[in-house]
């Protein structure tokens, strides 16, 4: 087997990695906004749920979360009579999304609180409801501020997908390990996948830049 023969199984693995990254990033994005806005909610119940979620997922290791969801959750489910056995893909997407969502929530909260207080006051003076003020005044100004951090988190998440191979999910790292076991040609295999991950990260960075241009369009239009 020469290195060219590795490319087919590796590209299959890469496709799994891409899907894993896309779905967990989307889940993480939704959770970021939910928990980030929840943390500054005026309702104490929502606020405490958001704070507990953020602290637990930021304070523990991703691999611990992944193992907990994959190994411990089914047993916990069985104890209360529920079938909570997750297939590796679901467990992987859930753990990655929950983890990156907690980091994203702090970005969202920070960006919302960085919007000048006068903007809140102006919205109130114009008789906007709190919800309208958030959606039409605050978020359009806060989202551009979040983008650089979101870009870093997306790359972070892409790198973290490699950990999903440890719960026997057939991603790029998993395929590489299989090929290595079979051929013992570790240098070639790992060099190839290091560059594949690097390539994916570069593409992802470019896509996040594009997204940043889209959400900051109104800033250029105004000036």
């Amino acid at each position: 087997m020469s290195w060219v023969d590795y490319l087919k199984p590796l590209s299959q693995g890469a496709w799994v990695t891409v899907q894993l990254a896309v779905f967990s990033t989307l889940l993480g994005g939704v959770l970021s906004f939910a928990a980030g806005i929840g943390k500054i909610s005026s309702n104490w119940a929502i606020r405490s749920v958001a704070i507990v979620y953020i602290e637990v997922f930021r304070g523990t290791s991703l691999l611990v979360q992944l193992f907990w969801l994959y190994f411990a959750l089914p047993i916990a489910g069985a104890a209360i009579g529920l079938d909570l056995r997750l297939p590796p893909v679901e467990a992987g997407v859930a753990a990655l999304g929950l983890n990156i969502g907690a980091y994203g929530a702090e970005v969202v909260r920070g960006a919302i609180q960085a919007v000048r207080p006068a903007q809140h006051e102006a919205a109130a003076a114009l008789n906007f409801t709190r919800r309208q003020a958030l959606w039409r005044v605050i978020l359009p100004q806060a989202i551009p501020e979040m983008m650089p951090s979101f870009g870093n988190l997306a790359v972070q998440n892409l790198k973290d997908t490699a950990l999903a191979s440890l719960i026997s999910l057939g991603d790029l790292s998993f395929r590489a390990e299989q090929i290595r076991n079979y051929t013992q040609d570790s240098t070639t295999v790992y060099t190839i996948i290091l560059f594949m991950y690097f390539g994916m990260a570069l593409v992802l960075t470019a896509l996040m830049r594009l997204l940043e241009r889209t959400v900051t369009r109104w800033q250029r239009a105004g000036s």
Binding site: R58, S61, L63, W68, A162, L163, S186, L194, A201
Partner: protein, 231 residues
Amino acid sequence: MLFGLSWDTDHGELAFAISILPILLRGLLVTLEASIAGFAVALVLGLIFAILKSARSRWISWPAIAIAEFCRDTPLLVQLFFLYYVLADIGIILPAFLTGALALGVQYSAYMAEVYRAGIEAVPKGQREAAHALDLTNARTFTHVILPQAVPRVVPALGNYLVSIMKDVPVLSVVTVLEMLNVAKIIGDQTFDYIVPLSMVGGLYLLLTLVASTIVRLIDVSLPKTGLPLR
């Protein structure tokens, strides 16, 4: 049985939890050692990257920028496997623990380099000019004027990366390092009870990161804001 300590599966969950706590704490000790070793590697490598990246010659700075970017954008797990297998292939046999510390250091050096750069750039330009006017050599300016003022600024950021490193140490379990998560996994594999050990690891991690970030904040508060006193 692990580290010569055995667990108690016959007297309920609580007795089991209490019996495995000392074993998990042994794992926690390994986690701390690996974090500190990895942090030390990252501190040194990061400074090297920071200096090379700001080199005047493009022949030095561009490759340094590319390599740092590569280290930052590739997964720790893959870097770890790479070092573990490839170093062995070329005849460098390191204990798993050292390979792990090296991988953590490589991964975080790229982040550290950015922190150093920000800290150095935050020192007012007038300081460098004053040092120049006082006829200090470049090396002396760096070690006696720039660094003492840059260090207090970067301590919180460096501390946060130490906390991040702690959370990445479980990855080292794949190369047989007996850190806390690996210990919990082995206990789970042998007793078929994953909930208790894995949840305890989660709890211990929360405690660990809480304590570590409090220490980082205390150090930050106690550092002089205008620069370290020399001697």
